[in-house]
C-alpha cells in the first residue's frame, strides 16, 4: 500500500524528517506516536502533498505510484485521505455542496459515474447517521463555527464518503471527549477491511483502545526509533517517551 524509504525533509533549512522508513500493507492499521516536534504532522502533510517542504532525499510509493509525481487532488483520486488536525473553515460554501463536489471529483478521477443530487443525498444521510452527525451541520458552511469535535466528526464523514484506500488520521483524537472519540473510532472501525489501510498519528494511547493497531511506531527526531505491536503503545503510556527513546 505505502512504502516510505529513507525520507529526509527540511522546512526552511531545518531538518524535520531524517531517514524515515515505513511500510504499510493492505488492511493494516499503523499508529505513529511521538512527542511534539518529532515530525508527525510533517509526515502527514508530505503524504497529502502540501507545499512548503523540501524533500532532500527518499522515496514514497503509494500503490505502485511515485507519490511525488502526483498533485494533491490526484492523490485523493488514487485513494489517499488525510483527516486534518486543524480542518479549515470555508465560509459561504455549504457542506452539502462541498461534499458532493468532493465525492464526484474523486468518482470522476476513478472514471466512475458522478452521482446526482438524489442519490448523493441518500448516501450522505446514511453516512451522517452512522457517525451521529447532525444534518443541520452539513447544511451550514464547511466547518464554519464548528466546535473542535464537530470538525473532527466532519473529517470522518468525508472519509467514509470517499472510502479511501489509505486514510491518515492526524491527531484526530486531540480535543475530543470520550463520546466523540468513540464515534470517531467507530467510523474508522466500520471502514476497516482487508484492502484498506490506516495510519493513525497520535500523542496518546487513548484512541488505540478503540482502534486496535497492527503496528505501533515511535517517531523521534524525524526517524522511527522503535516499532512493535499494540503493547508498545501501552508501554509508552506507562514509561513516557523518555523511557523508550
Amino acid at each position: 500500500m505505502l512504502t516510505i524509504k529513507d525520507l529526509h525533509v527540511n522546512v526552511e533549512d531545518k531538518k524535520i524528517l531524517q531517514g524515515l522508513n515505513l511500510e504499510i500493507l493492505p488492511g493494516e492499521v499503523h499508529a505513529i506516536m511521538g512527542p511534539n516536534g518529532s515530525g508527525k504532522s510533517t509526515l502527514a502533510n508530505i503524504l497529502s502533498g502540501k507545499e512548503g517542504y523540501e524533500i532532500k532525499k527518499g522515496k514514497i510509493n503509494f500503490i505502485n505510484k511515485n507519490l511525488f509525481d502526483l498533485e494533491p487532488e490526484q492523490r485523493a483520486g488514487e485513494g489517499l485521505f488525510l483527516a486534518f488536525q486543524y480542518p479549515v473553515e470555508i465560509p459561504g460554501v455549504s457542506g452539502i455542496n462541498f461534499l458532493r463536489t468532493t465525492l464526484n471529483s474523486v468518482r470522476k478521477y476513478k472514471k466512475q459515474k458522478e452521482l446526482d443530487g438524489v442519490n448523493f443525498l441518500k448516501i450522505l444521510k446514511e453516512k451522517a447517521k452512522s457517525i451521529k452527525m447532525d444534518e443541520n451541520l452539513i447544511k451550514r458552511s464547511v466547518n464554519t463555527g464548528f466546535s473542535g469535535g464537530e470538525k473532527k466528526r466532519s473529517e470522518i464523514l468525508q472519509m467514509s464518503l470517499l472510502e479511501p484506500k489509505l486514510a491518515i488520521l492526524d491527531e484526530t483524537d486531540s480535543g475530543l471527549d470520550i463520546d466523540a472519540l468513540k464515534i470517531v473510532a467507530n467510523g474508522v472501525n466500520n471502514l476497516k477491511n482487508s484492502n484498506r489501510s490506516f495510519l493513525i498519528i497520535t500523542h496518546y494511547q487513548r484512541l488505540l483502545n478503540y482502534i486496535v493497531p497492527d503496528k505501533v511506531h515511535v517517531l523521534s527526531k524525524g526517524k522511527i526509533v522503535k516499532s512493535g505491536n499494540k503493547n508498545l503503545a501501552l508501554e509508552l503510556e506507562k514509561k513516557g517517551y523518555e523511557g523508550i527513546i
Binding site: 497529502s48 502533498g49 502540501k50 507545499e51 498533485e71 494533491p72 487532488e73 492523490r75 485523493a76 483520486g77 488525510l82 486534518f84 480542518p87 479549515v88 470555508i90 465560509p91 459561504g92 460554501v93 455549504s94 455542496n97 462541498f98 463536489t101 468532493t102 471529483s105 474523486v106 478521477y109 458552511s141 468525508q158 470517499l162
Partner: protein
C-alpha cells in the same frame, strides 16, 4: 442653452474622487447630452428587455429607453408613478441633507431627460415589486440623466429593483440620481443591478432620508461598465432606523468599479450596517470609500462597516478607504477592510479532497459571493444574481 463643457467633470482633484477619474474617461468619449430620439413607440416590449432575465411582465415596471420612459406598467393599487416636473416638485424631500461637492447633480438637472415620482401610499404593503429598467441602444456617444423621487408613506412596504443594461453596441454615460424618502415605519428593499456594457460609464447615487422606525435594505450588484461609480448616502434623522447596505463589485477585465457610501447618523439609537465585497480580475481596479459620521446627538448609534476584496490577478488593484467620524461618546462603531488572494489553506484543503485546482478556486469564489447573498429575501432574484455572477467569473 448651457453646454456640458462648462461643467467640471469629477476628477482626482476632488477629494471624494481621489481614486476615480471620471474626467479622463469622459474626455476620451466626449459624450453629448441625449435628446429624445423620435422613434415609433412599439406596443410590445422590445425583445431586448423581455429577454432580460430580471424582467417579469407581471410586476410593476418602468422601462427607460435611451433616457426616456418607453413603457410603464402599474399592477398594484396604492402605487402611484408620475412624471416629475417643475410643477410637482417633491416637497417632502430635504435636499440639504444631500449636498454634493461635484457637478453630477447639476449636470443631471441641466440636461434632464425623463424624471419620475414614485409614491407608495400609507399602509400599503406591495406584494409585487417595482422594477425599473434603464435600457440603452444607441451607438452615438451620449449622456443620459434621469432622476427618480421615491416616497414610502407611513407603514408602506415595497421592493424596488433597478436594472441598468444595454445592447453591445451602445456607448453612453448613465448619470442617474435617486432620492428616497422613508416615512415612519416604512420598509424598502432596494436592489441596484448594474449590468451596463463594457464601453459605458455609470454614475449613480441613491440618497435616502429616513424617518423613525424605517428599514432600508440596499443591495448593490455592480458588474458592468468601463467605469462605474455607485453612491449611497443616508440621512438618519430619527431613532430606531435600520439602514443596511450589501454590495458586490465584480470586475472581469480592465474595468473600474467604485462604491462610495456616506452614513449620516444625526439622531440617537439607530443602526447602519454595510458589507461590501469586491472581486477583481485581470487589470481591473476597485474602490470602496465608506464614511460614517456620528453626530454629537446620535448617542447609542450602532454602525458597522466592512469591505473585503479578492484579487484574482497580480495586476488588479483595490483602494479601500473606510472612515469613521464620531462626535458622540456612547456608540458602537467598527470598520475594517481586507484585500487578498484566495486562501492557500482553503485551496489545499479542497484539493486534498480531490478537487482540481481550478474547481477549488471556483468553489472558493462562489463561497465568497454566497456569504453576501445568504440572507437576501427575494430568493428568485438571488438565484438570478448568483447565475449572473458565475457567468462573469468563468
Amino acid at each position: 442653452m448651457e453646454k456640458l463643457k462648462n461643467f467640471e467633470i469629477p476628477n482626482k482633484k476632488i477629494e471624494a474622487w481621489k481614486f476615480t477619474d471620471l474626467k479622463k474617461v469622459f474626455e476620451k468619449n466626449s459624450f453629448e447630452p441625449v435628446k429624445k430620439i423620435k422613434t415609433k413607440k412599439s406596443p410590445d416590449i422590445s425583445s431586448a428587455i423581455s429577454k432580460n432575465i430580471f424582467f417579469n411582465p407581471k410586476t410593476n415596471f418602468i422601462i427607460f429607453k435611451n433616457g426616456y420612459v418607453e413603457k410603464m406598467n402599474i399592477e398594484s393599487s396604492g402605487l402611484e408613478i408620475k412624471f416629475l416636473n417643475k410643477n410637482n416638485k417633491n416637497k417632502t424631500f430635504n435636499q440639504k441633507n444631500f449636498n454634493r461637492n461635484d457637478s453630477l447633480l447639476d449636470i443631471n438637472k441641466t440636461f434632464s431627460n425623463d424624471n419620475l415620482i414614485i409614491n407608495v401610499k400609507k399602509n400599503i404593503k406591495l406584494s409585487k415589486s417595482i422594477s425599473i429598467f434603464y435600457y440603452n441602444s444607441e451607438k452615438k456617444k451620449y449622456l443620459i440623466n434621469n432622476r427618480i423621487h421615491i416616497t414610502l408613506e407611513e407603514n408602506a412596504h415595497a421592493e424596488i429593483n433597478e436594472v441598468f443594461f444595454s445592447n453591445k453596441e451602445a456607448v453612453y454615460w448613465n448619470n442617474i440620481h435617486n432620492y428616497i424618502c422613508l416615512k415612519k415605519n416604512s420598509n424598502l428593499d432596494h436592489y441596484k443591478i448594474q449590468l451596463e456594457n463594457i464601453k459605458s460609464v455609470h454614475s449613480s447615487s441613491t440618497n435616502v432620508d429616513c424617518e423613525n422606525s424605517s428599514l432600508y435594505n440596499n443591495f448593490i450588484f455592480s458588474v458592468g461598465g468601463n467605469l462605474s461609480r455607485i453612491e449611497v448616502t443616508s440621512s438618519i434623522n430619527s431613532s430606531d432606523i435600520n439602514f443596511n447596505i450589501k454590495g458586490l463589485y465584480l470586475a472581469k477585465t480592465s474595468q473600474h468599479h467604485d462604491i462610495t457610501t456616506l452614513m449620516q447618523h444625526k439622531h440617537p439609537e439607530s443602526k447602519s450596517n454595510q458589507h461590501i465585497k469586491g472581486i477583481l480580475q485581470k487589470d481591473s481596479s476597485g474602490v470602496f470609500q465608506g464614511k460614517v459620521i456620528v453626530e454629537q446627538d446620535a448617542q447609542k448609534t450602532d454602525a458597522f462597516q466592512f469591505n473585503q476584496n479578492l484579487l484574482l490577478s497580480e495586476t488588479a488593484e483595490v483602494n479601500a478607504k473606510p472612515e469613521l467620524e464620531i462626535y458622540a461618546d456612547d456608540v458602537k462603531c467598527s470598520h475594517g477592510a481586507t484585500t487578498g488572494e484566495l486562501d492557500e489553506e482553503m485551496l489545499f484543503y479542497l484539493r486534498s479532497r480531490g478537487l482540481k485546482k481550478e474547481d477549488a478556486k471556483k468553489l472558493l469564489i462562489e463561497g465568497f459571493i454566497n456569504e453576501l447573498f445568504d440572507d437576501l429575501k427575494n430568493k428568485e432574484l438571488k438565484q438570478k444574481l448568483l447565475l449572473t455572477s458565475k457567468k462573469i467569473i468563468y
